[in-house]
């Protein structure tokens, strides 16, 4: 068997994945914490304040990366879902299901930070601006995938249904995004955030660092959830029983 096939075969094995991700997770958390600390320090103490918005612009360092992650994760779910459906690889199914709550959490974070960011400017906690509206629709797409998964009894069938739904949603996502953008220009909504006359380089660095660190957060969180799902699904299998009896000693 050639090495690539062997690799996929190995990663597909739950016990192997469980062990491998167990090694990886602490490193991912560590990197996430370090980069986030640097980014937030730079963002809150080094970067200048916006002449219009004052200090509240600093929420951008949370809002924008969260929004980016919310969309990236959905896209990843679609790609992994496609692999899961076509090649019936179980670990991919698990990763899709584990990603959904993380993506939904990032979406909610983007919504809440966006709302807080806008409050001083607009006077209300919510405006139907393009980005917030798109994030809200994205949140419903996430809820749909999660609800669909929870409606099926058999876990693999549930995961495959969720995968198909995320593919359909991901194809529609750009269309939704652009149509909401366009709708917003029609109705003169207020827009904000980083699209102004070029972003100051001192603001750019913390933003990019946060964008990178959130990916490590996603990775660590994803692998932790995936391990838990595997344990739960295989709880009667040999490798889990062995693992649990090892823990006892």
């Amino acid at each position: 068997m050639n090495p690539i096939v062997l690799f996929f075969h190995k990663t597909g094995s739950p016990p192997w994945f469980y062990r491998f991700s167990g090694y990886l997770i602490p490193w991912l958390w560590a990197i996430f914490l370090v980069i986030t600390a640097i980014a937030l320090y730079l963002g809150f103490f080094h970067a200048p304040v916006d002449y219009q918005q004052g200090a509240t612009v600093r929420i951008m360092y949370l809002h924008v990366p969260a929004a980016w992650m919310s969309m990236m994760i959905y896209g990843l779910m679609a790609i992994m879902g496609f692999i899961a459906l076509v090649w019936r690889i179980r670990i991919m199914e698990v990763l899709v299901i584990a990603s959904a709550p993380v993506g939904a959490a990032f979406t909610m974070m983007a919504l809440m930070t966006g709302s807080l960011w806008g409050r001083p400017m607009w006077g209300t906690y919510w405006v139907w601006d393009a980005r917030l509206t798109s994030e809200l629709v994205l949140l419903f797409l996430y809820f749909g995938v999660i609800a669909l998964y929870n409606s099926f009894d058999e876990p693999r069938k549930a995961a495959r249904a969720a995968s198909l739904m995320s593919i359909v949603g991901a194809i529609n996502l750009p269309i939704i995004y652009f149509s909401v953008e366009w709708w917003n220009t029609l109705h003169q909504g207020s827009s904000f955030g980083g699209d102004g006359p070029g972003i100051h380089p001192d603001m750019l660095l913390p933003l990019l660092l946060m964008a990178i660190s959130t990916k490590f957060f996603y990775g660590a969180n994803l692998l932790s959830r995936a391990r838990l799902i595997l344990l739960k699904q295989d709880h009667r299998k040999r490798w889990v029983q062995d693992l649990l009896s090892q823990e006892k000693h």
């Binding site: 629709v137 419903f140 749909g144 609800a147 409606s151 249904a161 198909l164 359909v168 909401v180």
Partner: protein, 227 residues
């Protein structure tokens, strides 16, 4: 095994669907009544001011059409799924995407087209200016098939679930957002004499994309539901 010609099978399926719809023609009225009731709720809820109603007319009529459409989507595949017809169709060797398309076409003719025919009545109730009516009808003619096509994917995914109907709405409404935005903007533009052909053109391209992709997604979802 000599398979039946695709056209023959497609035709047989359509004929069967029309026969079934005819046998249960009383039930076909339900989504239409729903459509009328929902539309009348708006003047009752927001007040009968003619200007206000005219302003929200395109949105209200389209949202009501959306809701009525989703109501009839749950039963798109359910009956065939439950009595074993669907699995026989899957095994027949005919293209499942084509089978799904046949069902969707029959569904639109029986559930979507009536919405189009009912729209002048709704337009009158919502005080839509006369300039808007032709565009409203056009937008519905282009848009209701898209509702059926995208909705069929949701219907196929939820057909094996006991209470699939509610979930179906949740799955499908976010996907309808672009259509809603384009359609209502087209009608709204027509009313104030602004250009609307762009929106309609985009809707037509959306219809073509949906026609090519949705049957395959629906077929995949049906195979999944049967497993």
């Amino acid at each position: 095994m000599s398979k039946q010609a695709t056209g023959t099978a497609f035709g047989a399926l359509l004929r069967r669907d029309f026969l079934l719809a005819y046998r249960r023609r009383a039930e076909l009225l339900q989504p239409l009544v729903f459509l009328m009731v929902v539309t009348t709720l708006f003047p009752l809820g927001v007040g009968p001011s003619p200007q206000l109603l005219a302003n929200i007319a395109p949105g209200v009529i389209w949202i009501a059409a959306l809701l009525a459409s989703v109501l009839s989507l749950d039963s798109l595949f359910r009956s065939d799924f439950e009595d074993g017809t669907l699995e026989q169709m899957v095994l027949s060797g005919q293209s499942l995407a084509l089978i799904a398309l046949a069902r969707i076409v029959a569904h639109w003719l029986v559930a979507g087209l009536p919405i189009v025919l009912l729209s002048p009545l709704l337009a009158m109730w919502m005080n839509l200016p006369d300039e808007g009516l032709p565009i409203l009808i056009e937008s519905l003619v282009i848009g209701t098939p898209i509702l059926s096509l995208i909705g069929a994917i949701g219907g196929a995914l939820t057909v094996s679930l006991k209470r699939g109907g509610q979930l179906l709405s949740l799955l499908v409404f976010p996907l309808y957002v672009p259509l809603l935005i384009l359609a209502t903007s087209a009608v709204g533009a027509a009313v104030v004499d602004l250009p609307y052909t762009g929106q309609l053109g985009l809707m037509v391209s959306g219809l073509i994309v949906a026609l090519t992709l949705a049957p395959f997604a629906t077929a995949a979802a049906l195979k999944l539901s049967l497993s």
